[in-house]
Amino acid sequence: MHFHRHLIAAAVYALAALPLAAQELGTPEGDILLTIDGAITETNDDGRAVFDRAMLEALGPVTFETETTWTEGVQTFTGVELATLLEAVGATGDSIAATAINDYAVDIPREDWVEGGPIVAYLRNGEEMPVRDKGPLWVVYPFDASEDYQTEVIYSRSIWQLDRITVAE
């Protein structure tokens, strides 16, 4: 049910985001939250794509509810879909290496970058996430939507305190 609704929402925002993708990424005005480099076509900072909060929000927010193994109770996450984000930077590779502030790193293959798939969340339960509580960005899969997302591999790809993405060549 959620999945279905998210799917529709994702489609709507994807269509809306399409002209942006074709244009320049824009320039960050606030704190840089995320840096993307590697095999990307769109850049805004010396071969890299950097994003502040507003830029991420501009890519089209997606919200869903799910439980996670790291939290108690149902959580509401809002963020940009990984698929939308990577499309926005014109990622050409088949895999990304995502790295956290705490230097945790994990590869996420292209098959995960789908509509209705994981999002790069910047709101949890409608609030920003501080670093002290897994913020500011957290790759969250809609775990409750499919059992396929309830695996250790997916859990390992759910990286919090995300700050860098390198798209593999």
Binding site: T69, E72, Y104, V131, K134, Q150, E152, Y155
Partner: protein, 853 residues
Amino acid sequence: MLQDAGPADEAPGSRTLLWVFLLLLCFGAAVGMGWLVLREIEDLGTANSDNAQWSLAQTEVEFLQFQLAIERAGEEEVSLDTLRRRFDVFYSRIGTFASASTYSAVRSSPEFIAANEEITDFLDAAVPVIDSPDAQLAAALPALSAEAQALLPQVRALSLAGLASFAESSDERREDVRRTLAQMVGVLGLLLGGFALLTNSFRRLYRVSRRQAQAMERAGDRMRAIVEAAADAILVCDRDGAILDMNTAGVRLFGYSREEGIGRRALETIYPADVAPALQEATRAFFQEDGRAGTTALHYETEAVSRSGRRFPAEVSIARTADETDPIYVAFIRDISRRKEAEEGLTEARDKALAGERAKAEFLAVMSHEMRTPLNGLMGTMQLMRDHSLSQRQSELLDRMHSSGRLLLGLVNDVLDLAKFEAGKLKAERRPFSVSALLDGVVETTATLASSNGNSLRWRPLTPGLDIVRGDSRRLRQVLLNLVGNAVKFTRAGSIDIEVERLPGEGGLVEFRVADTGIGIAEAQLERIFQDFETLDSSYSRQAGGTGLGLGIARRLVGVMGGEIGVESEPGEGSLFWVRLSLPPAEAEETPLPGQGGNATLPVRPLDVLLVEDNEMNRFVARGLLESEGHKVTEAVDGRAGVEWAESHPFDVILMDISMPVMDGQTAARKIRAGSGRSATTPIIALTAHALPEEVERFREAGMAHCLSKPIDRKVLSGLLRGIAAGYSGGSVTMAEPASGLIDRAQLGELSQTIRPADLERLLATFRAEMDEGVTRLTASDLPPAELGALAHKCAGSCATLGLTALRQLLGRVETAAKRGEVSEGDLAQLPELWAESRQALDAWQGEQALTE
């Protein structure tokens, strides 16, 4: 055989059911277990944690990085922001432990709780410091470093506590998986076992059904073989009588091939047209019971016909059995023409054999009867000859002839007895008699012969008080005389003991035993001796004489009396013959046998006699006897002539032969009595050979009050006529012993009526002693004729008194000769034998008298 398979069939069936039940259980267990396993698999498929151990280890790393950042920030190698970032990362990590479900198990560990508490306290304390402006933070760095240094062991402890907990839960998890897998293996094993059982069960079922199929096939084969091998024709028909199948014997018998026969109507095919309708009618009931299979089969004999038209007697037996729906009839048809022929042959043979037996018996009876008639003629004629003056030599020869004639007559009577037994004409009497008197008589009769063989002879009662009993004394005497006679014959210088004993128990059985110390009888011959014409030792039998019928007749007599006879013997030591009879005790005062009537003292007046007799020789003899007494004789040649004479003429007495052509004596006597002729009330004397008591009774009913045995004894006849002449009409039939011409029963009867029994007995005893001495002296042949004559006269007188007629006559001749000064050697030679015979006769009479007392 199919019924045998039944109960065996049932057991595998119920076992199979059990197997199926077990298998279902297995399946149930397997499904349940499978569900559990699937759930387990599902649980394993959805991971509920990321790599928790890495996270725990990372805690320490991140803390160390934070510590490092503090130190470096102090030396201004890194910015305070980096320090703040490291703090935040560490803070976030610790927060994760508080909320992540992965760590719920770890959170309950006391070590973890303690460590977590201290760390949280540190973090809470550090937050204001970290969040303070750079100057304050920089100033607080040394203190923060020291605190962090102090916390390091707690971080370590937290990490280790988590590791231990995860190791445990990992072990549990592994154990769960292991147990689930083991259970699965178990269930798989069960399932496999179940499959094996089911397979086995199916295999057994298959085998059973296969065996049954084979058994049925074999049974079918056997049945086919039996049907084909059967000598009887077997036809199988449907309910309409159409032939469904027939066997080879059927093909042979009826001449139709199987193909021709099948489909035809059996009734019209195998029975002749004139038999079939009646047969159909007769068997309708059976075929109308249609459908009730297993009811009784139908059997009948009829006539059948083959294709060629041969008709033959057949035995048919039809059984009904059931197909799925319709009844089926199986007919067995047997050609019984040979059996019929054999039966007829057998019947014929049996008829012939029976006819042969009858002819033999008749021949014996007729022959002995016919032989007796001329023999009677001879004997009578010899008696008549004595009335003429004979020389001594002639008289001797006549005596020999007479003696031989009597012997011959005895043999003929034996044979006639046998013939009568064969004809089943004898019946036993049941009258009271004295056992002791009878045995006295038997002993006295045989005493002379016993002593001449040097034997002692005696009898003794083993049961006191056994005397008057009810039975057939005459036949018993005959049996005992025979047994004692044999014992005496076959014993030399030994002893013969007669014992009599009443046996205990019901039925009033009395046993007579005749034991001798003679030559004995070999065991192998014990059975044979009671057979007819059986003489064991030819030399002895010749020595002893006889037809060999004696024991055979004794056996029959005992049989007639309802008793048993038997023998035990040891060759060389002696024999014991026993007779067991039912002789119930009788009341002593019961009516005794009538005595012999007659009055010897009365003079005989001439009588007018009608002689009815078909045999010319007998007529001649009888006429001679009667006329010699001075009577007038009228002859009639048969019963009818006799009746006619009796109608027209008043006779004083009628002598009536019994068996005559045209009309027999009994019929004639009835007619005379029934008519109103002039001799309607004239006494009639029956003339018969060997009359039986029941016959005598019939004669009396026919109106013949007297009976005279042939050959006619002159003395008996004259005694009887004397009685009739004197107006004596005995209330009972007068019976005369045929061979007892020796004594005058009438005279003795008279004597017994005038003298008291005790006196008579004393008289007879004196007489015997006197005669014994007299005969001894007379035959000593040293007496002068005068003394001889006087002694003969004295003895003759005694004999006359007691009615010993023959002896008196002989003594009379001796006396007459002596008076002439001669010695009659021939007469003297006869004297001992005649005395012995007379004495026996006298003894016998005395025995009978004893019964009447």
